[in-house]
């Protein structure tokens, strides 16, 4: 990776995180919405604590997946044509743009996961087991969703109906992340090895990263 590429990636991450800090979309909209969703589930399916303890981790990860994707598409969709043009004419490598956007999405997703995790533990009462593995899971899922979300956002481009399409594109491809995260927790609970699941999730991340970087330039001309 050349210095210029790295510099551009850092510039994009810096730009996106500053914009998010000033906009506050994730902090004031997506996180509360996700927390609300976690709160609504017991209202609908019953408040039996044994049931909630058992299905709580699953509900948490589904919420992360579905609402987390909004973080990727939210930021990408607020870039105007003029801003995109200006960035292109600065010589921004589309692949650097993709990597930068994915990293900043992943960073915001980790914050999202941690806050929602606290909410889920409070509401559903399940235990934190194998904390280092759980932290690794949080990171891998965040990076995977960031990459898939940014790739999907690049695919739909600036079309008006596009942003609604991004969750539909991401959700099926993110199934291994969902299964990996939930099965990893189950495995930790039962004392089984969870390395295969971690490796599978890592493979998803790797494929998404390679695909995103290789297709960044062909997609930009769309």
């Amino acid at each position: 990776m050349s210095t210029a590429f790295r510099t551009q990636v850092v510039a994009v991450v810096d730009r996106d995180l500053r914009r998010e800090r000033r906009r506050g979309d994730v902090l004031w909209v997506t996180i509360p919405f996700g927390a609300m969703a976690l709160f609504l589930f017991p209202l609908a399916i019953g408040t039996d604590s044994a049931l909630l303890q058992r299905i709580g981790p699953g509900l948490y990860w589904v919420t992360v997946m579905l609402f987390g994707v909004l973080i990727s598409v939210g930021r990408a969709s607020v870039e105007t044509q003029a801003q995109r043009d200006a960035a292109s004419l600065l010589g921004l490598d589309p692949a650097a743009g993709y990597v930068g956007r994915s990293i900043s999405a992943a960073g915001l997703l980790i914050i999202f996961e941690v806050i929602l995790g606290v909410v889920a533990i409070v509401l559903y009462g399940f235990d934190l087991i194998g904390i280092p593995w759980l932290i690794a899971t949080l990171f891998i899922v965040a990076i995977g969703l960031g990459l898939l979300g940014s790739l999907a956002a690049s695919l739909v481009g600036s079309s008006s109906s596009g942003s609604a399409l991004v969750p539909l594109l991401v959700a099926p491809l993110a199934v291994p992340l969902l299964l990996g995260a939930t099965q990893a927790y189950e495995g930790l609970r039962l004392g089984d090895s969870i390395l295969p699941w971690m490796l599978l999730m890592a493979a998803v991340v790797l494929v998404a990263a390679i695909a995103g970087v290789l297709t960044a330039r062909p997609l930009q001309e769309s």
């Binding site: 914009r19 105007t80 801003q83 043009d85 200006a86 600065l90 330039r217």
Partner: protein, 213 residues
């Protein structure tokens, strides 16, 4: 030695979906030239600028800008030599003017200290920490000119360059355009302010009915 050709368009056509916007465009611009581009609303001036900036591909005809084919992949390599300021600002409203320029400097590979120098040149150093979204249209345009001052461009494309600018800023724009022309580059100014542009342009072209005259 004759000046190098910066833009060479031959029978260019551009469409949006199936609607033709431009048809049969021929244009040649050599280094050192400042060209004024006029036309009625909806004539396709902005589309022509974006085409020359390599941001859209021609549907017909051939175009060479700074040696790169507008239909080929080498057009990516020349993008950082083209500056464009549209009539809609391309700044990020949540970022300050300084942060916007620092982003541009990082991506373009320009040293960070050029940010303050160029903001000072356009008279915005005092507003370096003002959010772009909280700045007036004129201030945002000045900031975009500061961006173009920072980066060495061989071709400058300006859409309504004098709009929302006070007298000092107009001088600034003219100075920037003149500097690029003096260095062998070229500039195209799209404007409704015929007098101001004719005063600095070497020649004018008129866009009407999708074609250039």
């Amino acid at each position: 030695m004759p000046a190098a050709t910066v833009i060479e368009l031959s029978d260019i056509g551009v469409t949006a979906g199936t609607t033709p916007i431009l048809r049969g465009i021929d244009l040649e611009v050599v280094g050192g030239e400042i060209v004024g581009l006029f036309g009625a609303n909806g004539a396709g001036k902005t589309t022509l600028l974006r085409l020359i900036a390599t941001l859209i591909r021609p549907a017909a005809g051939t175009g060479i800008v700074l040696g790169a084919d507008l239909s080929g992949d080498d057009r990516y390599d020349i993008r950082n030599r083209i500056g464009m300021i549209g009539h809609v600002p391309g700044l990020y409203p949540e970022l300050t003017l300084g942060e916007n320029l620092r982003f541009a400097a990082s991506v373009a590979g320009v040293p960070a200290d050029a940010v303050e120098t160029s903001l000072e040149a356009v008279g915005l150093l005092g507003a370096i920490d003002r959010q772009a979204g909280a700045s007036s249209h004129g201030m945002q345009r000045r900031a975009e000119f500061a961006r173009e001052l920072m980066i060495e461009r061989d071709l400058l494309l300006l859409d309504e360059p004098h709009s929302a600018l006070d007298k000092d800023a107009v001088e600034l724009v003219n100075g920037l355009v003149g500097k690029i022309a003096a260095n062998g580059g070229a500039a195209i100014l799209v404007s409704h302010d015929r007098d101001r542009v004719v005063a600095i342009a070497d020649r004018s072209v008129e866009l009407a009915g999708g074609s250039l005259r």
